[in-house]
């Protein structure tokens, strides 16, 4: 059977599965809709969190990104995993004990302030929207590459699926579809990775093959890759990259802290039955994430080595068939500049004849490893699972922020539960439509605003949630001024360098050499300092708030 037929079959089967789960797990109350009735097993929540977190970018683009960045790519690997340690130890158990539905709920009660709630809601909606537009676009791209339909059709199909299970099932539907999506995406990622590891090193475990010798007797894989890279004029793969140490440090920290402050990740820990389950499911979540995140750098090194060895300085007429197949998608381009019929891959732009899109490192792997057509189809289903699961988690945050935080708690406090549930469904529906619109007509700045999502989460939520738990003295004045100054600083810096004066976006103009991607770390530090200093000069939180802090610090009250 052809790749196309296999893709329709496998994608069709996975979609049928997601819809089946949605029908089985309909939400009947706001508790179901917002937090899946707090009844999710920690293992299931770990899988759901992993799928929620790993986006189309993690699945399709990350390995390719690392393949071209070498050691600098480590900042994504550490940055997008290390935040879970912070979540497990500093946030998840206490927020689960607090026991409400949303991050703004906690901010509002802990800081006894409607203003704080509104700031938190605006941040949550902004962060989630910048993120979700990219996911819908990802769905469209996967569709168009594998199913030969245009991007718009792809986005619409993706919207219909998400609409169905997010609007119907809320958090409950999303959780169980995410569990299924995790299984699909991890299998789809590992099969080609295992085979390409065997192909190059003879070792079936990619994480070990990464540090093994090549089966063709060329010594250690990484030494070989370092040698090939320098020979072609690139920096050594495992050596110093293009970024300064301070920038790598700040970007890594912004990604870690941003992860721990992202509302769609935090609310996943509200769905488990107990405080101890919240800790445990953070561990499972990171375990499931790390399976992909330790495979990705291995895939990066395998794919890059293999690409250089099979293509560079070889005659175009004898190149492997995957090259010509992928040339059609324009993800890889050969331009014979010196008309010698031989492919030259070089750092030097004048001599280089091969243009490679980073996404091909994952997408072409099954063909490079000569795997059967159904594996190619599985990779398509995996990419879709990654994009859909993340989109659904984000859409839930947006709809909850509107129905629960804005309508129920600010605009009309007398809203009945039944009405609130209806509002939540309507808000989810609108959010899907709006996200789809941005997926079809992506604003030119989608790629640039991803820095925003992490930077804002790092500089707004993270410090005040931490202070809210670990310091009884932090007052509402402290929290509000900390959030506002942290956000303004971070947003101002990003807007200046990305939109107002993009030509100045170079290391010599940056503060201390910190790029806009890493500025969230500084925003976070400033937020902490402002909140602590202002709290010193304002009155301490009232007694009931002090009591609330005491309560969330222990899993259960001691027996008197």
């Amino acid at each position: 059977m052809s790749i196309l037929v296999w893709t329709w079959i496998i994608v069709g089967l996975t979609f049928a599965l997601y819809i089946g789960i949605a029908i089985w797990s309909r939400a009947k109350s706001t508790g179901d809709f917002y937090v899946a009735a707090k009844s999710v097993h920690p293992l299931a929540n770990g899988m759901a969190t992993a799928a929620d977190w790993m986006s189309a970018a993690s699945f399709i683009s990350m390995a390719g990104l690392i393949a071209f960045m070498g050691r600098d790519g480590s900042m994504y690997l550490m940055g997008w995993t290390g935040g879970y340690v912070l979540l497990a130890m500093l946030l998840a158990p206490y927020l689960r004990k607090f026991g409400k539905y949303t991050v703004p709920d906690f901010v509002a009660e802990r800081y006894y302030s409607k203003v704080a709630r509104v700031i938190a809601v605006v941040c949550a909606i902004f962060v989630s929207f910048t993120y979700v537009a990219g996911q819908m676009r990802g769905v469209g791209i996967v569709f168009s590459r594998f199913l030969e339909v245009d991007i718009t059709t792809g986005v619409i199909v993706g919207m219909a699926i998400v609409f169905f299970y997010a609007v119907m099932g809320g958090m409950k539907g999303i959780t169980y579809t995410q569990v299924a999506q995790y299984v699909v995406l991890i299998i789809a990622y590992l099969i080609p990775a295992i085979f390409i590891s065997i192909l190059l090193t003879g070792n079936p475990i990619p994480q070990l093959g990464f540090g093994s010798t090549l089966s063709d007797g060329g010594g250690y894989l990484l030494d070989k890759l370092d040698g090939l890279s320098t020979q072609l004029g690139f920096a050594a793969y495992t050596g110093r990259g293009a970024k300064s140490m301070i920038d790598v440090f700040f970007i890594t920290a912004a990604l870690m802290v941003g992860t721990a402050g992202l509302p769609h990740v935090i609310i996943r820990f509200f769905t488990v039955p107990k405080v101890s389950d919240a800790r445990k499911s953070a561990g499972y979540a990171l375990l499931f994430i790390a399976i992909l995140y330790t495979t990705a750098p291995a895939v990066a090194a395998f794919a890059r080595t293999n690409m250089i060895q099979t293509l560079n300085d070889k005659a175009y007429s004898e190149a492997p068939s995957w090259l010509t197949n992928w040339e059609k998608t324009k993800l890889i381009k050969f331009e014979d500049k010196n008309n010698d019929g031989i492919i030259q891959y070089r750092k030097d732009a004048d001599q280089n004849e091969l243009t490679i899109d980073r996404d091909i490192m994952v997408l072409a792997n099954p063909e490079i490893a000569k795997l059967p057509n159904w594996v190619v189809a599985l990779v398509a289903a995996g990419g879709l699972a990654a994009a859909l699961s993340t989109a659904a988690g984000l859409l839930l945050v947006i709809s909850t922020s509107i129905s629960h935080d804005l309508i129920k708690n600010v605009i009309a406090r007398d809203t009945s539960e039944k009405k609130e549930l209806t509002y939540a469904r309507i808000a989810a529906g609108f959010a899907v439509l709006l996200a789809g619109y941005f997926g079809i007509n992506p604003p030119g700045f989608v790629a640039q605003v991803v820095a925003f999502a992490f930077g804002l989460a790092a500089s707004s939520f993270f410090p005040i949630i931490i202070l809210g738990i670990f310091s009884k003295k932090t007052s509402k004045e402290g929290a509000i001024s900390g959030m506002i100054i942290g956000i303004l600083l971070t947003a101002g810096y990003i807007i200046y360098f990305k939109f107002i004066n993009p030509t100045a976006n170079t290391a010599e103009h940056w503060w201390f050499g910190i790029s806009p991607e890493g500025i969230g770390t500084l925003g976070m530090v400033v937020n902490f300092i402002v909140a602590i200093v202002v709290s010193k000069f304002s009155s301490a939180p009232p007694d009931d708030v002090q009591q609330l802090i005491e309560d969330i610090r222990i899993p259960r009250e001691t027996r008197a």
């Binding site: 690392i66 050691r71 790519g73 480590s74 690997l77 550490m78 995993t81 290390g82 879970y84 340690v85 912070l86 497990a88 130890m89 500093l90 158990p93 994480q207 990464f210 540090g211 093994s212 010798t213 250690y220 894989l221 990484l222 030494d223 495992t238 050596g239 110093r240 140490m245 790598v248 440090f249 890594t252 920290a253 107990k274 405080v275 101890s276 800790r279 445990k280 953070a282 561990g283 990171l286 375990l287 790390a290 995140y293 330790t294 750098p297 005491e550 610090r553 222990i554 899993p555 259960r556 009250e557 001691t558 027996r559």
Partner: protein
Amino acid sequence: MSDKSPQEYWKRNIRYVGILLTIWFVVSYLFGILLVEQLDTIRFFGFKLGFWFAQQGSEVIFVILIFVYVRLMNKLDQEFDVHEE
């Protein structure tokens, strides 16, 4: 008689988290970023050690740290009789 107050529970919790987060910082920021060049002079199988910490080791150690924390806290909850039913 040992102190079983919530304040003492909180102090112990902070101490555990402090130790675990120190390890978290050392394996990633220190070994993977700040000292990466120095550690890269040491070989670890087919890897340079600093590179391994940055691309494999810190991720694996992060997972272990959370499970250690889970164990420590479950024991602490029992000891202070604040565990959930």
